[in-house]
Symmetry: C2
Subunit: 317 residues, 2 copies
């Protein structure tokens, strides 16, 4: 068996589901696997689920265990890529200093790589998505919260303590300037993240102004904004304006020409279009391009595949 | 003569003066030279002045012309380091696409390097100043306007079009959100830059509230803030708060642990202390260190010396 044959598995560890994909060393996806992670917080359980998924993917594709070269996982938190440790995730998972890489290597017996999940998505957009060939770009993941994967000079930029791109805490015109306690959403996040959008809707909701229910999620609110609901449009306007300020600021500091919007909320055409319109109103000298993710919910797992392929050729256990 | 012997000259091209320094290949400064550039805009005149200064420095130090290995200059504008072209300076100089590197090489007959002047200051702070040994830091130059030199992974980060760090345009809580026309000061600059500080003072000035003259410059206003003038303190408070928001945002995006304040206004202890106090009020998870430049007005020319030394060993004409 030549050393260039074999397979890898990429994993995306999310708060609601764990997604796996089996791929060849060329990055071509052969099969996918998914399981709910609702209510699961213990990293040992997550690793056991990844182990089960890997075995199932190999078995279903009639591949022997020895053909697995490496795995890689995107984790929803600040991740020390060098040490292989997830330093912290949001309160939803509550991880602190989880040695995920060694746990995966012990369970699977192959080299493992780990990375922040927004960064794996950025890798995927850079390799096969909306940012192909771009030396500098920022991937914006807008879901429950908001985070950024920053690629500079063709490489992920991690920062001093692996938390570059934690942009939920940015302060722009219109955000609160109150210091944020640990575990609280940041100033930007509380306007642009899914939970923040929901909260805005609920605080503006008025039964005399809308016939819509008070309990809607961000993407539904944006759907209703497109359909003409005035309160929903107000929420969309505020979110898009605030996001546009944040993008503009990053474009100024980094002189960055491209931003790619992903995540369930970030992929919504209403947010993308409104944010783009707000950016177009700003000064001509700072006009970054704003694209929607091509890979959508597959971005994270695809990036993990690319990281696994790299891991296969660089890491020995 | 061994190839490791020789001398370089570093130049700092400013709106009010041109500073030169002669140094050995070890970076040790042997002599300085300075001339006024008030009223001088033509880049050919600036190059002629640099030429004169270089000849004078060599002559005064009894060095033969053949011992000059390279020169480098920091220019007050967006600079394409690879092409050797100053793309644009502020309206004060009005340069557009000036091929400064080839002009210097033609005049002096030695390899030349050019760089944005805030970036040369950042180089100097990194080599012999307040940021020694720091992989990631931001140098903040606050003079008439405001600019940043960004060092990431131990190297200057320039951005797509050589304008990373043009932070005068940042939008933070309390700044104007009006789009900025070409040539106008940016939103941040009009509050934190020297001209903006002066303008704030003049708009708040009231003969019933202060006995100070209406016509003061930024550093004088800060002196009077320290001495207890209420209006001056108001101006200082607003400038420091706004600068603190901008620093906080850059620290969030880049996960950057150190900011170094330089420039005539940025070196003022009142601005440094107040900004530091504002930063300390923000959330604990984002607490970058804020230092004052060690090199002060010599930072730019010292950085140019380091660039010239690098140029001597990498560039052939």
């Amino acid at each position: 068996m030549a050393p260039e044959t074999g397979y890898v598995v990429g994993a995306d560890i999310g708060g609601t589901s764990l997604r796996l994909a089996l791929a060849g060393l060329d990055g071509k996806v052969l099969a996918k696997w998914k399981v709910s992670t609702a209510g699961i917080r213990d990293p040992r359980v997550v690793v056991r689920l990844i182990h089960e998924g890997v075995e199932e993917l190999l078995k279903e594709n009639f591949l022997s265990r020895g053909l697995l070269r490496a795995v890689a996982a995107g984790a929803p938190g600040v991740t020390d890529v060098d040490a292989g440790v997830v330093i912290a995730t949001s309160y939803l998972m509550g991880w602190r200093d989880v040695p995920l890489r060694s746990m995966l290597e012990a369970a699977l017996g192959v080299p493992a790589g780990i990375e922040n999940d927004v960064n794996t998505a950025a890798i995927a957009e850079s390799k096969i998505g909306a940012a192909q060939g771009m030396r500098d770009f920022v991937f914006l993941a807008v879901g429950t919260g908001i985070g950024a994967g920053i690629v500079l000079n063709g490489r992920l930029f991690h920062g001093m303590n692996w938390s570059a791109g934690e942009i939920g805490y940015l302060l722009v015109p219109g955000t609160s300037v109150k210091p944020v306690e640990s575990g609280e959403p940041g100033a930007l996040e509380s306007i642009v993240g899914g939970e923040g959008i929901k909260a805005q809707w609920q605080s503006l909701w008025d039964k005399d102004r809308t016939q819509l229910p008070k309990d809607l999620v961000a993407t539904q609110i944006f759907d209703h904004a497109l359909a003409g609901d005035a309160i929903a449009q107000e929420v969309l306007h505020k979110s898009a304006q605030t996001l546009a300020y944040a993008i503009y600021n990053m474009a100024v500091v980094l002189n960055c020409p491209l931003f790619v919007m992903g995540g369930s909320v970030g992929m919504h055409p209403a947010l993308w279009e409104s944010t783009q319109a707000m950016l177009a109103q700003r000064d001509k000298r700072v006009q970054p391009k704003l694209l929607r993710s091509i890979l959508g919910p597959d971005a994270q797992v695809n990036g993990a595949i690319h990281l696994a392929i790299e891991t296969a050729s660089t890491r020995v256990i």
